[in-house]
């Protein structure tokens, strides 16, 4: 049952060229959707498929599209979130570089379903080489009538443009991404209003992750029932798990939604190096709460990981072995969020920096009694008190590490009792 979907053609040479993509049946889904289906049918099928966002929040893509008002005088926009920056995450890089036309096809279908005529791909600035490849693919798609005016004779128009970020983790947060696309600092916006009604340039906007959109052509071709059968009842399809850290075979593994975390680490990613034991796993990118070695017998789908007290996030699995002091992990986590806080909300701006200051002194052997409790208190006071989810993203890993590894952390403190 482990058939690949999104990554099935990744081994082909020059898949990023439109000729090769077309040979594999590329753009058949777009043709089917645009010439045989009404937009509402496309929307319904994607809703039925329970396609949940692959960027981090895991929200239903179909519902998100449905929130955009159907009747409006305003232009509507699609923003593709290719600002892949959650530490541990690299799956979208594979889709963008191997199969950019798959993304473009998903964009065409999604835009058709929602009645969007202008789309941007917001790609992180470091992915310049990939952005150039994507631009080449977009030019090919325009040349062959899959983008532009009257696509495939359907009367549907769509323009697509690549917008490069310039180095800021926060711009992966959807409202910060909108600000950045408008030429401003990436300061997240207060919600509501949600982007579906007031988004890019104050107009109704859909923001979807790269992998989310790449699934859409397969849903159109094979149907929602097929997609659901690949995954879980409330969370369809496959996920591209990115495994890094202390495993023998780091890399991407496309597996059904609901595959067990243990199986991903020990069967697919080759387990740990000889003589090393599993200590902890970060299951969904750095901001997801840490799991201890005995907590990995869980299904990797949005709801199951949440029930286990963590977060599926971007399905980026970071594996930590018994040779790594947990303080080292905590230091990296604390440094990252202190660096990336946009500075807009006080609890996040100050809290992340206080946390980093404490963790740094602990790492220098100057930790004081009560430091771990301070970390717990600071993290708890950031969570839920900021405009955007970055506050939670910073607080959750610190809180979970300080809580689950309290004993080990306290053993490093001065004057321990």
């Amino acid at each position: 049952m482990n058939e690949k979907v999104l990554t099935q053609n990744f081994g082909l040479d020059h898949l990023f060229r439109i000729e090769v993509y077309l040979e594999q049946g590329g753009y058949r889904a777009a043709k089917k959707a645009l010439t045989e289906w009404k937009p509402e049918q496309v929307l319904e099928e994607v809703k039925k498929a329970s396609l949940r966002g692959r960027g981090g929040a895991g929200f239903s893509a179909g519902l998100k599209w449905g929130f955009v008002p159907k009747k409006t005088d305003k232009p509507k926009y699609l923003c593709v979130n290719a600002d892949e920056g959650e530490p541990g995450t690299f799956k979208d890089r594979y889709i963008l570089s191997h199969d950019p036309h798959l993304l473009i096809e998903g964009i065409v279908i999604a835009s058709y379903a929602v009645g969007i005529h202008d789309a941007y791909v917001y790609i992180r600035g470091e992915y310049e080489v990939i952005a150039l490849r994507l631009e080449q693919a977009i030019a090919e798609a325009y040349g062959q009538g899959y983008l532009g005016k009257n696509i495939l004779g359907s009367g549907f128009d769509l323009d697509l443009y690549v917008h490069r970020g310039a180095g800021a983790y926060i711009c992966g947060e959807e409202t910060a991404l909108l600000e950045s696309l408008e030429g401003k600092r990436g300061n997240p916006r207060l919600k509501p209003p949600f982007p579906a009604s007031v988004g890019l340039f104050q107009n109704p906007t859909v923001i979807n992750n790269v992998e989310t959109l790449a699934n859409v052509p397969f849903i159109i071709l094979n149907g929602a029932a097929w997609f659901l059968a690949k995954g879980q009842p409330n969370d369809g399809g496959t996920r591209i798990f990115g495994v890094s850290g202390a495993v023998n075979k780091p890399g991407i593994y496309e597996l059904p939604v609901g595959t067990s975390l243990r199986e991903i680490i020990f069967t697919h990613a080759g387990g740990l190096k000889p003589g090393r034991k599993l200590k902890a796993v970060i299951p969904g990118g750095m901001s997801s709460p840490i799991l201890k070695a005995e907590e990995i017998d869980i299904k990797m789908d949005v709801d199951s990981v949440a029930a286990a007290g963590s977060m599926m996030g971007s399905a980026a699995i970071i594996v930590i072995d018994d040779r790594t002091p947990i303080l080292e992990v905590l230091k990296k986590v604390a440094k990252f969020y202190a660096h990336e806080s946009c500075g807009q909300c006080t609890p996040c701006r100050l809290g992340t920096n206080w946390i980093f200051k404490i963790v740094k002194r602990m790492a220098e052997g100057k930790g004081e009694q009560g430091d771990v409790d301070s970390l717990l208190r600071l993290a708890a006071n950031i969570k839920g008190r900021t405009l955007c989810p970055m506050g939670d993203a910073a607080a959750m890993p610190v809180f979970s590490i300080a809580k689950k590894f309290k004993e080990e952390l306290e053993a490093s403190l001065k004057g321990k009792t």
């Binding site: 530490p87 600035g125 030429g183 340039f201 980026a316 790594t324």
Partner: protein
């Protein structure tokens, strides 16, 4: 030396702006164009961009200082950006930074006196399966160790 924009750069800027409903939205890509042509974004460049886009200069300054990829002073010919985030450090990424510091004789954030190399420590580059990794200008290099770094440096021209 005047940093007046060349007609060719102005034309490229116009080409970028055509893709947005207002000029302000083109600010990030325009600054990237300026940096790729001039190597960094000076205070004078900020003022020129502000005038071209009809913005107050402060709007440009706050963007240039917010995003890490904009340089406000000249960078070396080869800008080496080393990831020090979690997956890379689990794969001994810190040794990579130490090796580069020793080999280039500079600290993080500095440029070699000959203007050839700038060394920067960065957060996750999105290539964790190849940890430890780094970027030289826009090229990615992964699965690094000191010997491999030496070979990469020797190959840079």
């Amino acid at each position: 030396m005047s940093r007046e924009f060349t007609p060719a750069l102005k034309e490229r800027i116009e080409g970028v702006l055509a893709h947005y409903p207002n000029k302000h939205a083109g600010l990030l890509p325009v600054l990237r164009l300026v940096q790729s042509e001039k190597g960094f974004v000076s205070a004078e460049d900020e003022r020129i961009v502000a005038a071209l886009l009809g913005l107050r200069p402060i709007k440009v300054r706050e963007v240039v200082t917010f995003y890490t990829l904009f340089a406000r002073k000249p960078l070396g010919q080869f800008h080496i950006q080393v990831c020090s985030n979690l997956s890379c450090s689990l794969a001994s990424g810190e040794k990579i930074l130490e090796h580069l510091k020793a080999r280039l004789g500079i600290r993080i954030g500095q440029t070699t006196p000959d203007g050839k190399y700038t060394l920067t420590e960065v957060e996750c580059l999105g290539a964790c399966e190849q940890a430890p990794c780094m970027m030289v200008n826009f090229d990615y290099y992964g699965n690094l160790d000191p010997e491999k770094i030496d070979r990469i440096l020797e190959g840079l021209k």
